[in-house]
Subunit: 205 residues, 2 copies
């Protein structure tokens, strides 16, 4: 077994930057999940990672920077899974919706606490971090809009953007509900979601 | 003009509890909007209201209590507006959706900054406050489910709950988008929303 002062087999002080960053995010994520944004302290992260504060500042700047990096990493995974599920094989938009919906609820099911970090609660973070959070969310929605555009090339850009926001918000809210009602089997959540999202799609002009 | 030490015409120290509470919430709301949850301080509220800390603690307990009371007051208004818009006059579910959607986007338009407090960002608040926030959101969704049940009495409870979450999440996300894209006229946002929500309604079994 590696001693506590090694990370991924590297000697302390010899950890490559990208490896250290992932390690810090691995440790920060459960701290945010456990204590919330307000209760998260950089000191706790330093203790868990056995690094000094300057190391954390050097990687992420501020607490906001750590929080954003955690959410960005989770959203990167989400976006990649959605894009992979929606293309290139589906023949219709309905098929793309079904495959992406199944992938979305599958990743929530696999790691619910991690997803509650993204969808757990609503509060007010103002200023640059609110803009950054909005940008992260928008990136996912833009990927959805890309897929819809592929299957509905004649629909207007505003209608497509509206539809993408509509079904993404619907998926978030259902995901939030499912995190609190985990006894409902995934296939039933997915089937309802797909039926509604496909019904809405029929109204896209 | 009343002096700064009076509230609604009451002499300082003679303000009825309910009046004082509304006054404190009137002052707390812009502080949360301006500084975010993390940046809000009870001291700032005391200074703005010209009261001592025990007065604030006596009304709300903690900062979480103030935050929840602000959100509850805004959501009370939302729920009342939605219920009023959706009934009892509409003859069909589609009509109820249209009237409620128009009312929803109208209140966002009237006071966007206030609504960004509810829909502005997502973050992690864990523990009891996350449960309270979820309960507030659920209350709105339950009102939506009540309306849908009225028009679709044979649909299953789970399908109705799913649909209510679906269209409420869709409305939140569209509202969030509209707060950042305010040049789109309200009637176009409403028309798209109603078309999609009605299309989804057609799939309710």
């Amino acid at each position: 077994m590696p001693s506590k002062s090694t990370v991924g087999g590297y000697r302390h002080g010899r950890v490559p930057r990208a490896v250290r960053e992932q390690q810090l995010l691995d440790l920060a994520e459960p701290l945010f999940i456990e204590h919330g944004y307000a209760g998260f302290s950089i000191e706790d992260l330093c203790q868990a990672a056995k690094v000094s504060r300057p190391v954390v500042y050097d990687h992420f700047g501020t607490k906001d920077g750590i929080y954003l990096a955690c959410l960005r990493r989770i959203r990167d995974e989400l976006d990649a899974v959605l894009v992979a599920a929606a293309g290139p094989s589906p023949a219709t938009a309905a098929e793309a919706i079904e495959q992406a919906a199944d992938a979305f609820f599958a990743i929530i099911e696999r790691d619910p606490r991690r997803w509650s970090l993204v969808y757990g609660g609503t509060t007010v973070l103002t200023g640059p971090i609110a803009d950054d959070l909005y940008a992260l969310r928008s990136r996912t929605i833009d990927r959805i809009a890309d897929v819809v555009t592929r299957f509905a090339p004649t629909a207007g850009a505003e209608a497509i953007a509206t539809y993408a926001h509509f079904i993404s918000g619907a998926a978030e809210q259902l995901g939030r509900w499912w995190l609190r009602n985990p006894d409902t089997p995934r296939d039933r959540v997915v089937a309802n979601y797909v039926a509604f999202a496909t019904g809405a799609l029929g109204q896209l002009r």
